[in-house]
Symmetry: C2
Subunit: 366 residues, 2 copies
């Protein structure tokens, strides 16, 4: 590794990330979908440039802050994929002066407020809840959809279409995933059939990373909107969206202690670095999996070498006898994250394997 690592450092393998991107671009092309990726995973202008180079011209983000950041880096078509926060109306007015801005409307109250308060044309998706139950209007609730459409009719707020994020795919097995996918597709198809005459340009945007990576039927969908796929992570590998070899970020962590009795390696790398997302196996919680770092790459993940507990700054890696003996105090090991979006947000910058820094929004003083 060209970079001299003294502290927890988030490494990015740009070859893996760009291959993940290329694969998703091909997938979208194959299905004649416009790829409108979510940028909340990487939150990086420089990573965003890779998307631009493969023809992406529209993106999603998950906050007004992110929208401002990417607008300042030349992105002109930005969807804030979040129930619109009407307290940010001044910033929405600033943004919509400069870019084609859209956001999600999920209630009549926000629609009413914005019709009265926005100064420039904005578009909106009605976010649809087809079973995830986090947010969105139920696909069965045509009355509420009609109310929103009625309220915004003829206003500065233009209806763009329907958006589904089926986040419950993250907790599904292969069969469950397929069921969720079909339910989401059916919801979109029915809504489209119902509203297309009144809104002939309406768009259906869909596709979390599991669905977009694994599924192969997108009839009725116009735009594909995954985010995590640029890096993937252990959660996605468990779902089947990727192999562990497709994971494009790893946290490099100094080894500070070893405990032979417990076969534990203590690393500087805790919740403020990896975040605290976890998976479970028979032996308990998993907060990350170890890889060996070498000059210009990292190894396949080491079997049975998982971060098993985590506190603010400490991580405890439990390993086999053979691995235990190969790791010395003062070494640096890599940890594949459970949830790369959260790890990237916590780390606030990336370092390439050739030692270049890549900025992340959260590392900037804005």
């Amino acid at each position: 590794m060209t970079l001299k690592i003294a502290h927890p450092t988030l490494m990015i393998d740009t070859r893996i990330a760009q291959a993940n991107l290329q694969k998703m671009v091909s997938k979208a092309q194959k299905h004649h979908l416009k790829l409108v990726p979510h940028f909340k995973t990487h939150q990086s202008a420089e990573v965003g440039e890779w998307f631009r180079q493969v023809g992406i011209d529209a993106i999603s983000v998950s906050s007004i802050k992110m929208a401002k950041y990417f607008a300042s880096h030349g992105w002109e078509n930005i969807n804030i994929a979040f129930p619109v926060n009407i307290r940010g109306v001044e910033e929405l007015n600033e943004l919509s002066k400069k870019v084609n801005l859209s956001f999600h409307i999920v209630n009549v109250e926000s629609a009413k407020y914005l019709c009265e308060s926005l100064k420039h044309t904005c578009q909106f998706f009605i976010e649809i809840d087809a079973g995830y139950h986090r947010t969105g209007v139920s696909n069965k609730d045509l009355e509420k959809i009609d109310q929103i459409l009625h309220k915004t009719q003829g206003s500065i707020l233009h209806f763009k279409g329907f958006y589904i994020h089926a986040g419950h795919t993250y907790h599904a097995d292969a069969k469950g995933l397929s069921t969720i996918h079909q339910t989401s597709l059916n919801a979109l198809r029915q809504l489209k059939a119902h509203y297309i005459n009144d809104y002939p340009k309406l768009i259906c945007r869909y596709g979390d990373t599991p669905s977009a990576s694994i599924m192969d039927d997108f009839i009725g969908v116009d735009e594909l909107g995954p985010g995590n796929f640029i890096f993937y992570d252990l959660t996605q590998a468990q779902i089947g969206s990727c192999s562990k070899g497709d994971i494009a970020v790893a946290l490099a962590c100094p080894v500070v202690d070893k405990n032979k009795e417990r076969r534990e390696i203590v690393i500087h790398g805790g919740g403020v670095h990896l975040a605290k997302d976890k998976l479970e196996d028979k032996l308990g919680a998993i907060y990350g999996q170890m890889v060996w770092l070498s000059e210009d790459r990292w190894s396949a993940p080491v079997e049975g070498a998982y971060v098993r507990s985590i506190s603010q700054e400490h991580g405890i890696l439990r390993v086999s006898d053979a691995i235990y003996n190969q790791i010395q105090i003062g070494d640096v090991v890599g940890i594949l994250p459970v949830h790369s979006c959260m790890t990237a947000d916590a780390m606030k910058a990336y370092w390439t394997l050739s030692g270049d820094k890549i900025e992340h929004l959260e590392g900037l003083s804005l």
Copy 2:
């Protein structure tokens, strides 16, 4: 509230925080202990000044980065309460040129390396594991302690004493806490008795926030080292270290949607704001508890109004009928955090109730 809140914003009630500080100062005085607080909770030079004003002159931190930050703000006695990361030796040399630096040694390898590599005198604690099993030398392992002392004898590395962080108090009930406390005290007393002749100045530093807040026997201990008490949080309230009224930080979150069927309030406030630490009750996970925000304070926590699920930017608050009807889209509600250290680290700044910003290390471009 004087501050106009448009986005998730970490509020600090300085009166509560300073009362928490004063109470801990009194507790330490009562037991003739030197209070050497841990600053990893607040990570703020300005909050640090409150400690200085009540006579604190020595602190703990949990990383070299934090040590550099507080050294640059005039702190001259800094303990990095973490198994020393020997890859940071150059920074340790820079720091120990300027301040009285100590850190934790938990293995002979690090001691050997530092004896050969340090340029200026440093002190070290041997961190003792009396049952937490995260890190540290077992209090039974006198052989390893002797090896570390032998290795550093006559070197630039001076033995300061023993340090215990009994982090398993965080998962204990009242009786368990008392048992852990006595076990820790006994370990320190035995070690002190064993080594005091050879090291007449040796110090025993001890006291996580639960022990320091609740217990009333510290015989054998010289220095008290809690950190979280400055803010406390829901975890500490559950343990019994504080009442919920002692919690000094609350995340102000805009309300973006409501779901009447599920009695859910959707807030902008997710894992990147609160972090993902959780408690559990009969109904499931708790990621925070709601308070009402008013001009110059927040209310007592609202019974049964908990953040029940969380994703990157979303929080889902489940509430009673009565509370549901009192909250409107576009309102701002406060959320008491489950783990204030992690929330502060994620939020990177505080705002006082009178609208002033207080800096946090993570919000700076260093």
